[in-house]
């Protein structure tokens, strides 16, 4: 029986294993050094905040793996010998494979800051980081202040985690406005204000220069690059992005760049070796996507796709329309299609922006300046229907048509106050249109 070995028990590796099992009878082994069982990395914050226990983050009960004949192996892979098709495991063991999938995810970026390896300095990616945080920041007497370096999605989650335990947080963000490499100005500014309203000491356009230690080798303070200011703190969170976790491949023949180089079939340069998830790097970007996409959904979609190839139906990885979501403290965010921030915004992309007066809801819709084709939407504080926008993007709707059917796109819970009327009025004012909301339900539109 063919032996499929998957390194990494994250969403990509596990999705792949599940789908291979559905399609075939192959022997499957998943190796991970991080945890016995698959857990949802995205839920780590909720464990620290006391919303859930770690067990709750495991999407499958323990019997699931045995029942589906997916062998789990807790071990660290030190090296891969692709000639003899064997893995070198820690503690001197080895394992032979017929097909190998690298799904090792990411690790937090460290940019060579002085003091970046001190006690009390940590990323927020692995389960061990969570345990570390619990150790160094259990409450605000042990951790009097934490400094977070890097204003991305994980940074703001870490800030929310610490704030939930009443730990004062200073949040250093290199950009001039939070996450404005991705978000358009209005949205980014709204999130800035939201962060401040949670009593987080947000420092924009601020870089870390160095981390200083006390006599025991523990974090004592950080120094700000721009001002030389010293901020005393007990914990430093490094959340300046992630990069593929592939150092252990250096000695192998597998081609790597920033990540494991793969073609559209998710194959590496070596036969029978594949890579998926955060650690995979496309030779060429697909559409507007980046060559490395460190998001949950990408890992899952790659897993779904590669299972076909492994089971004899060789197909390309062809993701559909881009979508994503996040939550900034109390504000939920969803995006469908492409809405660019200032950086990297194509010339043809025009924006319509609406913001609610309560400063916690806003919507940005991108469309083609010349053709008026709808390109994408960012929505904050209002839930929208994935299926609606997926169809709209496929059918290349005119933005005016999208606006009239906005009610059908709403996915907020029942009885919520709806804002579509407001939105379309603002749109009419901005664009000189005279559109009116349609009452047709979304299913009927596409019927």
């Amino acid at each position: 029986m063919e032996h499929i070995v998957i390194i990494g028990n994250g969403i990509s590796g596990v999705t792949l294993a599940r789908h291979i099992r559905k399609l075939s009878d192959k022997k499957i082994t998943i190796i991970s050094a991080e945890s016995e069982y698959f857990f949802s990395r995205t839920a780590l914050m909720y464990v620290f905040m006391g919303h859930m226990t770690f067990e709750h983050t495991q999407p499958y009960e323990h019997w699931f793996w045995k029942k589906n004949r997916i062998d789990l192996l807790k071990a660290y892979v030190d090296a891969i010998d692709t000639d003899s098709k064997t893995l070198q495991l820690s503690e001197g063991k080895s394992l032979a494979y017929d097909k190998l999938i690298i799904a090792t995810g990411s690790k937090p970026n460290k940019f060579g800051w002085p003091g970046q390896d001190l006690d009390g300095v940590m990323g927020m990616y692995h389960k061990q980081d969570l345990e570390n945080l619990e150790k160094y920041a259990p409450n605000n007497t042990i951790c009097k202040r934490a400094v977070i370096v890097g204003g991305g999605l994980i940074g703001i989650e870490l800030a929310e985690m610490l704030v939930s335990r009443d730990i004062p947080v200073t949040f250093l963000v290199r950009e001039s406005s939070f996450w404005n490499g991705v978000l358009p100005e209005g949205e980014s500014a709204m999130i800035n204000r939201h962060i401040l309203s949670h009593h987080i000491d947000l420092r924009l356009s601020t870089n870390l220069k160095a981390i200083k230690a006390d006599e025991n080798g523990k974090v004592k303070s950080v120094i700000i690059e721009e001002t030389g200011e010293e901020i005393s703190c007990n914990v430093v969170g490094l959340t300046a992005g992630v990069s593929p976790n592939i150092d252990f491949l250096k000695s192998s023949k597998i081609e790597t760049g920033k990540g494991v180089k793969v073609n559209r079939f998710l194959e590496t340069n070596i036969a029978d070796v594949y890579a998926i998830g955060d650690c995979a790097e496309q030779h060429e970007a697909i559409g507007n996507r980046r060559p490395i996409e460190a998001v949950w959904y990408t890992g899952r979609m790659m897993g779904e796709t590669l299972a076909q190839t492994i089971c004899g139906n060789r197909i390309q990885y062809k993701p559909g329309h881009w979508f994503n979501s996040a939550k900034f403290l109390d504000i939920e965010y969803q995006t469908y299609g492409w809405v660019h921030g200032k950086k990297g915004k194509p010339d043809y992309e025009a924006h319509f922006h609406w913001k609610h007066q309560d400063d916690t809801k806003c919507v940005t819709i991108a469309y083609h300046k010349d053709t008026n084709v709808f390109l994408g939407i960012n929505t904050f504080g209002i839930r929208m229907r994935h299926e609606f926008f997926d169809t709209v993007l496929t059918e290349k709707w005119n933005v005016n048509k999208v606006m009239t059917h906005l009610s059908a796109a709403n996915f907020d819970p029942e009885f919520y106050k709806l804002h579509e009327k407001d939105i379309i009025e603002k749109y009419n004012r901005d664009t000189g249109n005279n559109l009116r909301l349609s009452k047709i339900k979304w299913r009927s539109i596409f019927a």
Binding site: T42, Y46, M49, G50, T53, W296, E304, K417
Partner: protein, 540 residues
């Protein structure tokens, strides 16, 4: 703010302590004349009960309720034992006539109920003499304290949004010692209420004035329970309003259950009683209202003229037509989390414990076995009862009508719905009864699963498998298992509380009523991936 909160907690605990402590106060005795009067009223024929009671409780001693209860029960036992002995003797002598005569002297009824009746008349003391003051010291202090504890959350919780911080760090909500204490208290409360009502007769004195104002009569232990139920729900509804103030679905739903509890379950039946009508809760549908078709109820209804007849017809239509029709249009939520009293308590008092429901597959299996068994048994019981009622027989299909009714009332009605159902909130979650025991829920669930427009729609591929939805589903549904596959949630047990949707950080879940086509949509590859792959895999 924190100071106000903790002051509130202390005041609440003082109120609760006085309430609990009041059980032990007062003295209980009756004069010989009063005892004679009582026996007369009840029409007891026993020739020795009067003396036995006089000897035991016509005394100058200050008996507390426990001593009093024990002496009363002794007296009744003494009388019954006496006649049982005679029966045995005549039986041995084969003197059938004499033996038969003795039965009329026996006194039937549960010992603690007999004792409760007497205690209600025999009580005196501070509580009985000062009901208004006592009301303020017990209900009053507890309500004020609880509100002081809850209201600061408007500010302490910060901006509106999901605030589940620390739930798994706190002893009260993480099955710690506080949770166990609460469990003990609740279980104790229910056992006293259901089985030893005489011990808590002092509580009824506190509410006598209110009861008289509402229905003209003195308060019974059930009046106390009903009143307490409304008070607790109201206070805990305030907590819900604050906690979910960003979520209109939660606010409306909470208002709705509160309204139905106070008006339908409490006020209307009381007012009906005061008008000499049978007190009836118009929303309490059979088979949750399991004694609706019991002889005594049918008899009382048929003897109550037009209103009785109306209730009989309404009750039947409610169960056979209104309930399933509404479930078809709106799902079982219209009842379970918008109307029902049990649901109402679960959604208010029980909300802090919702995360304790067991999400395992085994629990789901157990749930289906148990709840459907209860449904079958309750229907069987009703068939037997009705058959016996119309035919005059004592049993049907080999089942004794009285036996099955008594057993059901004891095991399901009292133990399952009350002691376990509510008492175990802090450890097993707030919907143990609704999930495992309620026959009405089983019935609604079957309709919801197979013929309804209701579903929880999963928003394409947006789920990140975080598990908040499953953790906070009070019915123990593994919501995530569906959401992470992009599949709608169509489950018979879902009561549509909407909390899974509320806690989801990615906006994945929406409760809605829509066409039945495509309601159940098993998916393997989620929206957002290659459309051809989706077609290939999902069409299979």
């Amino acid at each position: 703010m924190k100071l106000i909160k903790y002051t509130g907690l202390v005041i609440f605990l003082i109120g609760l302590a006085i309430f609990t402590g009041s059980i032990f106060t007062g003295s209980f005795s009756l004069s010989p004349t009063e005892i004679d009067q009582y026996i007369d009223e009840k029409g007891y024929k026993s020739e020795i009960i009067a003396d036995a009671l006089k000897k035991n409780i016509a005394t100058d001693e200050a008996l507390n309720i426990f001593e009093f209860s024990s002496r009363v029960r002794q007296a009744f036992k003494h009388s019954n034992d006496h006649y049982d002995n005679l029966i045995a003797t005549y039986d041995a002598e084969k003197n059938w006539d004499k033996k038969g005569e003795q039965y009329q002297y026996k006194i039937y009824g549960k010992p603690h109920t007999l004792s409760y009746d007497l205690a209600k008349r025999a009580g005196s003391g501070f509580v009985k003499d000062n009901p208004a003051l006592m009301w303020w010291l017990t209900f009053g202090l507890s309500i004020i304290g609880a509100l002081l504890y809850i209201l600061p959350n408007v500010i302490l919780l910060g901006a509106p949004g999901i605030k589940n911080n620390g739930i798994y760090h706190k002893s009260a909500t993480n099955r710690g010692w506080i949770a166990w204490l609460v469990l003990l208290y609740l279980v104790g409360f229910y056992i006293l209420l259901y089985f030893k009502a005489d011990y808590v007769v002092n509580w009824t004195f506190i509410l006598d004035p209110i009861s008289k104002a509402l229905n003209g009569g003195e308060a019974s232990q059930w009046f106390v329970y009903g009143f307490l139920y409304c008070v607790i729900m109201t206070v805990m509804a305030v907590r819900m309003y604050i906690k979910y103030r960003h979520n209109k679905y939660q606010i409306l739903r909470t208002t709705s259950v509160l309204f139905f509890q106070i008006v339908f379950a409490f006020l209307i039946p009381e007012i009906m009683t005061s008008l000499n009508m049978p007190g009836y809760d118009f929303k309490n549908a059979f088979p949750l209202d399991y004694d609706f078709f019991f002889e005594w109820n049918i008899k009382s209804l048929t003897e109550s003229g037009a209103i009785g007849l109306f209730i009989l017809v309404w009750g039947t239509i409610l169960t056979l037509i209104i309930v399933p029709l509404m479930v078809y249009f709106f799902g079982k939520r219209w009842y379970c989390s918008w109307v029902c009293g049990c649901g109402g308590l679960a959604e208010t008092l029980g909300d802090p414990y919702r995360q304790h429901s067991d999400k395992s597959l085994n629990a789901w299996k157990l749930e289906r076995w148990v709840i459907h068994s209860v449904l079958v048994i309750s229907v069987l019981m009703t068939i037997v009862t009705l058959y016996c009622y119309f035919s005059g027989a004592e049993s049907f299909l080999g089942i004794n009508s009285q036996w099955i009714k008594d057993t059901y009332s004891f095991l399901i009605g009292a133990w399952f719905a009350g002691v376990i159902g509510t008492g175990f909130y802090p450890i097993f979650g707030n919907r143990v009864w609704c999930r495992f025991g309620c026959p009405l829920a089983a019935y609604l669930g079957l309709v919801q699963r197979f013929k309804s427009r209701f579903r929880i729609t999963t928003n394409g591929g947006q789920c990140i498998s975080c598990g908040n939805c499953s953790t906070y589903c009070e019915m123990g549904i593994d919501v995530r298992a569906y959401a992470q596959k992009g599949e709608n949630i169509v489950r018979s047990s879902c009561v549509g509380c909407g909390i899974c949707s509320a806690v989801c950080p990615r906006g994945v879940l929406k409760l809605e009523n829509d066409n039945t086509a495509g309601r159940i949509n098993p998916t393997e590859v989620l929206l957002g991936n290659d459309v051809d792959l989706m077609d290939l895999v999902n069409q299979k």
